[in-house]
């Protein structure tokens, strides 16, 4: 019997999983229209929503239905005609479910884009065909790269406004590749499109015969949903310990289940594992979800693990395979995006949350700040909101981490200000 058959997977005949992606661009690039077009052409928009935006379009004196109204959110935003935050949208093609993280493109909203990018496996970078590669294109690409999004789609939009001219598209591709190479971005696809007219978004349309590549939806349908496709090491931060201590039920009397989400890798019953920070080793006795026993479990599953030996384990500990263990770290360097209006104060102590672990931390030094428009490094004494910088931290308690470039789950952390409990920074360990 193959291992696959034992997974508690959904029995639906066609299910190509779930893909989370991000759209970068401003209203001017037609980003809202593109999202509206995706929702509209995949029949996600229902009649009452359409009627409501038709009404608004007419009120604003527009002839056609303004698809960008679909992504308009809050009253505060409508009044000011801006987007203040990340919004999440959903659509399905019947074979795959999608979550779009929609972040505004303005310069002052770097933090929103980093937030939206943190859960995405693919980013769509919008370029206005009339304007070509702009500073904001570079900024969006840099941020997508910083957050380590493995797949990029460069959507050259508004092709209708340049007469669907292939030369315009080719020039933008050449320009983009020139700087993407410098950044070291891997998988990039270029698609010419008109979100307004629906060319090359879901349908091919009538105007881009010279383009033989896939439509946007084709790429989305075939892109791997996982953030990382290479074989990753098993990392299991313990979230919660289940000890029913039910004296009436002998089976549950000594039950100790370690509950958590597998951040990466795969685990099989019988595997030799080590618990961090204690360093004690044992074997996996059982893997369960609510009484259902599994032979093995994989990345992104929430499971309960039982061990062969009684080891004292609590929330914040991490279970790894003994052959892939980790060293404790009490200091590290990271790329940090500052998220708070309150600047980073180097005299203060912050709280760092890494996996399910929390520890006090102090800033040992700021090596440089990145000018995200020129991508040049500059010295910095403190960090303001939207700043990206390389920062060295010292910790009160050790953490067990991998470089972010190898493992999102164990390479990322957030910085919390204990006085307000706000999340003030996001970090990616180098």
């Amino acid at each position: 019997m193959s291992a696959m058959e034992n997974l508690p997977l959904d029995k639906h005949p066609i299910d190509n999983g779930l893909l989370r992606f991000l759209t970068c661009g401003s209203v001017d690039d037609g980003k809202s229209t593109l999202i509206g077009r995706l929702l509209f052409d995949t029949k996600t928009i229902l009649t009452d929503t359409l009627t409501s935006i038709e009404r608004t379009s007419q009120k604003r004196g527009m002839e056609a239905v303004d698809l960008s109204l679909l992504t308009d959110g809050l009253q505060a935003e409508r009044e000011q005609g801006i987007t203040i935050d990340v919004a999440y949208r959903y659509f399905t093609t019947g074979t795959r479910k999608y979550i779009i993280a929609d972040a505004p493109g303005h310069e002052q909203y770097t933090r929103n884009m980093v937030t939206a990018a943190s859960t995405a496996s693919l980013a769509i970078i919008l370029i206005d065909a009339r304007k070509g590669v702009l500073t904001q294109t570079r900024r969006h690409s840099y941020l997508a790269h910083l957050v380590n999004i493995p797949h990029l789609i460069v959507a050259v939009n508004k092709m209708d406004l340049v007469n669907y001219d292939q030369a315009v598209f080719e020039k933008i591709r050449t320009d983009y590749l020139a700087f993407a190479e410098k950044l070291g971005i891997g998988d990039i696809r270029f698609i010419p499109m008109s979100a307004l007219n629906g060319d090359m978004v879901v349908d091919r349309g009538q105007h881009l015969d010279w383009y033989n590549g896939p439509t946007l939806l084709d790429v989305l349908e075939t892109s791997p949903p996982a953030h990382n496709e290479t074989v990753e090491k098993f990392r299991f931060p313990v979230q919660y310990v289940c000890r029913p201590q039910d004296s009436a039920n002998p089976e549950l009397h000594d039950y100790r289940g370690f509950m958590g989400l597998i951040e990466s890798g795969m685990i099989t019953v019988g595997d030799e594992v080590t618990v961090l920070p204690s360093g004690l080793s044992t074997r996996v006795k059982s893997i369960e979800i609510c009484g259902e026993k599994l032979t093995h479990a994989v990345s992104e599953q929430s499971v309960t693990i039982l061990l062969a030996d009684e080891i004292d384990i609590s929330r914040g500990d991490m279970i790894v395979k003994t052959c892939e263990t980790l060293e404790p770290k009490k200091q590290f360097e990271a790329m940090v995006c500052w998220l708070s209006e309150q600047p980073m104060d180097r005299a203060r102590k912050y709280l760092i949350r890494h996996t399910t672990r929390e520890t006090k931390a102090m800033v040992a030094g700021i090596e440089y700040r990145v000018d995200i428009n020129s991508m040049e490094w500059e010295p910095a004494e403190k960090l303001a909101m939207n700043d990206i910088a390389k920062v060295a931290f010292k910790l009160a308690q050790p953490i067990f981490c991998d470089p972010y470039s190898e493992n999102r789950g164990t390479g990322a952390f957030i910085v919390i200000d204990e006085s307000t409990n706000n999340t003030v920074g996001a970090g990616m360990i180098l």
Partner: protein, 311 residues
């Protein structure tokens, strides 16, 4: 042995794993949480997720229902039975008690009690010292919800400030709060109505009967199907027909339950979960558009209510 490089989880498995993770984070980070359970379909899914998250242990939180009093008796009976079957503690606090205390004042006796649930909820939070309430809200329900965090911070007045939300990155949730403040946690934020029905189908979850097609006496009022002369748990008889309205027998089902006096059913023959999944896939109208008579009052009514402490 087969070497798996990458196993893709089905979308339901992924959503379920995420929801379990969020519930366990609440249990790990908060000292006194509660899970909101109304007997509605979303909170029924939440109970299943909680079982997957914590069994064979007990839930690390009680169930809490903020009862409008405007409920169908079968939903309340279902609520009580389900809590008993699970062996979990159920706390019920009612809008009617808040009305008796004078903290909820209706503009007129027929006013929707949905928005007044906020008051009763905040009173229950204070009474029990809850630092987190886990709810079954979904981002696809409404545009104000599309922008809310999974762990959503509320100040001492229970208010949501859309412009001042904590950034939420990766799966690193921040559920910290000071005394008096609290967190609303939404484990099924990323689920759509379709996902909920597919999950109910897959997990074979039991639902109150009003979710399935049945014959009901209704009138058509401003385009909406309004059930008439319905006896509520409060003892009232809701929605008397107005002069000139004709009562008809219609085959209907409810897509949501809330204050039932302002919840309209949809016309439907779907009497099984399977048929409802099919119908949901082909429907042309949104859940709230079809069924919530009080959401349409103002374009921003949900946003407004959330700022006031609503779920």
């Amino acid at each position: 042995m087969t070497v798996l490089t990458k196993q893709t989880l089905s979308h339901l498995d992924w959503l379920e794993a995420e929801a379990i993770h969020i519930m366990r984070e609440v249990a790990g980070q908060c000292s006194n949480p509660a899970l909101l359970f109304s007997g509605g379909k979303d909170s029924i899914c939440m109970l299943r997720v909680a079982e997957k998250a914590f069994r064979p242990g007990k839930f690390p939180f009680p169930l809490l229902h903020v009862d409008t009093g405007h409920n169908y008796p079968e939903v309340i009976a279902f609520r009580d039975r389900r809590a008993a079957e699970l062996g979990e503690r159920l706390i019920v606090r009612s809008v009617e008690d808040s009305m008796k205390r004078g903290t909820v004042v209706l503009k007129h006796p027929g006013e929707s009690r949905n928005k007044h649930q906020s008051v009763t909820l905040l009173e229950a939070i204070e009474e029990h010292g809850f630092d987190c309430c886990i709810g079954g809200a979904r981002r696809d329900e409404e545009k104000a919800r599309a922008k809310e965090r999974i762990m959503s911070f509320r100040d001492e007045f229970g208010q949501w400030d859309p412009k001042n939300q904590r950034p939420e990155l990766w799966n690193l949730y921040n559920a910290r709060s000071h005394k008096g403040e609290n967190i609303r946690a939404f484990p099924i934020s990323n689920w759509t109505e379709m996902d909920v029905w597919q999950y109910i189908e897959r997990e074979k979850l039991e639902l109150p009967s009003i979710y399935f097609a049945h014959t009901r006496k209704v009138v058509i009022r401003q385009g909406a199907i309004v059930p008439v002369n319905v006896p509520l748990t409060s003892g009232e008889l809701t929605n008397q027909p107005k002069a000139g309205e004709t009562i008809v027998d219609l085959q209907v089902r409810f897509r949501t339950v809330g204050d039932i006096s302002c919840t309209a059913p949809v016309e439907s023959d779907a009497d099984t979960v399977e048929k409802i999944v099919l119908e949901t896939a082909t429907t042309t109208i949104t859940e709230r558009g079809a069924t919530r008579l009080d959401d349409q009052t103002s374009e921003a009514s949900m946003e407004q209510r959330k700022k006031e402490g609503y779920f």
